[in-house]
Symmetry: C2
Subunit: 245 residues, 2 copies
DNA sequence: CGGTTCCTTGATAACGATCAAAGGCCGTGG
DNA sequence: CCACGGCCTTTGATCGTTATCAAGGAACCG
């Protein structure tokens, strides 16, 4: 039984029945193994902006998102940050860095308040040595992440900022959008526009102008972090015109 | 014992003693398992430009590069290609797509003539189910690939084309460069400049101009696909000035 | 040889970055 | 409760980089 998407934040959560354990990789584990994780893990509530782990820190283990939304970012040497991906409840992060070497090569912090659990590295390694299924699950997840990274990189090469913005909005629409009575879709952005600019690899000013441009074409209206998608078809066209040639 | 880097292309190769089997993931397998692979695999010689597998084709297995250099590319809907990474002998490709879903989400073709072996998917799956070590090896390799994709994406966001070009040249220098008597380094590019432009996500004209610009600053000279790096320090500075802040 | 692909160069335009400034929103502390 | 400071957002003006279009020449292959 899936845990409902909206949940009241709890300080202490159990792996038993946790949405993360029902999803993806952890479902490969037996009940008794999950209980071992439950005993060894530590969970903590994070507020918006709280850092889960920092780039270049040594890896201590991996993290499960119980609730909230997390940004995975990479810092350039000159200090500018790029958000590589966002992760929501049910997903595991830090495993690629964990397997790839001793250090976190990306950082992670919370966009929305939420609960994140830490699973010690030893335990992961131990289970992995016995359970090929768990390894395969991580492999599948990692392959998906790689594909999305590639796709994102491709978009960055060929899309204008306006197009990339449309793409981002459509992505979030699926998860965070709610249909209104008047047929428009209300979308509460889960991050600041500055952070959106870091996802796309542009400047905040450029995002602001791209938003303005979409607004001018009567595709949407924005009020702060809220967006009203007036003409979803136009927005879809915007992206599909390029994606479908 | 590692097989020497330069090898004469052979039509038929054995996995026993093959450089690929000594490296990375396959070293996790026992001798008898490698012999099974040897019996089931098929190897083939590819010329420059020959396609190993095409995007959107169903996955039949994974490929080991025995010799030569391979480009992994992704096609945009409008037909423009982006080279996501290049792979050389000893590495395995296609595994991420294999684990990630039924279809190849990237395409692969040879930049240089070489021998590539195909290992049927069933066999991979079978070994993977029994050998956690093999899974872990793929996991490690995949994590590395993801990290490199992230790093490349970050560079694309913050570097100018000239800087990215300098970075690419330095990458290839390590593998393909040879020191000359006069202190310069001779580098034979393993791909066309148009392909370099596809790696970087720029137009060929822009690469040509960036090359011109580096040339004008007495950092290097280019003659066709050959580059003479006159001032390696300047070239390193070019990149480090940004990487080291 | 003839055709193709690749490379180069020039002129121009589009896009996004940069710099600067002002207003809004929010949390903090007086 | 209000004032303050900080961060986010917006807008304008300008500049730099890269794309685009076009055409000529070189290299390569059948």
């Amino acid at each position: 039984m899936a845990t409902p998407k909206t949940r009241t934040p709890r300080q202490q959560v159990s792996c038993i029945g946790c949405s993360t354990c029902d999803t993806a990789e952890w479902s490969a584990l037996s009940r008794s193994e999950i209980e071992q994780i439950n005993a060894a893990k530590s969970s903590r509530h994070y507020r918006s902006g709280d850092v889960i782990y920092e780039q270049d820190e040594p890896c201590t283990g991996i993290y499960c998102i119980e609730s909230g939304m997390v940004a995975v970012r990479q810092l350039s040497a000159d200090g500018t940050a790029k958000i590589m991906r966002t992760v929501e409840f049910g997903e595991t992060i830090g495993y690629a860095d964990f397997f790839g070497g001793g250090k976190y090569r990306t950082g992670a912090y919370c966009l929305e308040p939420g609960i994140v659990c830490h699973i010690p590295g030893d335990l992961v390694r131990k289970f992995l040595a016995n359970s090929p299924d768990l390894g395969l699950a991580f492999l599948t997840h990692g392959a998906q992440a790689l594909h999305e990274a590639d796709a994102s990189s491709l978009r960055q090469s060929v899309y204008t900022v306006r197009l990339q913005l449309a793409h981002v909005i459509l992505r979030f629409k699926d998860r965070h959008g709610t249909a209104q009575d008047d047929g428009t879709i209300l979308l509460q952005m889960p991050m600041t526009w500055t952070e959106v600019s870091q996802m796309i690899g542009a400047r905040p000013e450029t995002i602001s102008r791209a938003l303005q441009s979409l607004s001018h074409d009567n595709i949407l209206r924005s009020e702060g972090r809220r967006i009203f998608i007036d003409d979803l078809d136009l927005l879809l066209d915007e992206v599909e015109r390029v994606e479908a040639g």
